[in-house]
Symmetry: C2
Subunit: 119 residues, 2 copies
Amino acid sequence: MAFDPATLTFDSAGLIPAIAQDAVSGEVLMMAWMNARTVTETLETGQVTYWSRSRQAVWRKGETSGHVQRLVELRVDCDRDCLLLKVTQEGPACHTNRRSCFYTVVEGGEERVVMDPMA
Amino acid sequence: MAFDPATLTFDSAGLIPAIAQDAVSGEVLMMAWMNARTVTETLETGQVTYWSRSRQAVWRKGETSGHVQRLVELRVDCDRDCLLLKVTQEGPACHTNRRSCFYTVVEGGEERVVMDPMA
């Protein structure tokens, strides 16, 4: 069937969470938010584009850093309220220069960093 | 350092998104929500426990279906506003009886189902 972004379930701010996963390694890189416009732009351009909640602006991932995400596959979940993006990530996904934003592990009541910034 | 759930960034409803990923295959299974209490319960019991927004109640995943998620590793992201759970999933993660909730793909303007329910 034809895909219509309006069939997604957006929250009260008009946003939907989007999980970015490395299309080859399966590593989960980050989670950010999209609105209907940036879902459409991502599909049309193949360059992953989020909505920045802090800047309240379209966020073309990597536009200034060069750390772009190319869309390989976009999936929708059963409740249509979350997206999974399989991507090719250029460089680090995280603003801390790490490959993934998920770089601390909680275990035995302690939290520790398990990933170094990229060289 | 000691982990304190109060250092996480919860939304205005007191919730934080949690991504469940198969610890072995890397498949992203689902995304759901936790509050401070269910983060603590998940860590203490090793059984993944969410907060059900629809039921407004603690949701011990698999309590009725048997499709439990055992916690292998809990990660926190850079902004402390999203969790990544590496889990061992018993049976399907999705209420549609599919392994993952992300079972439709959007491509070329079309959306199609790419995963069958489990037998």
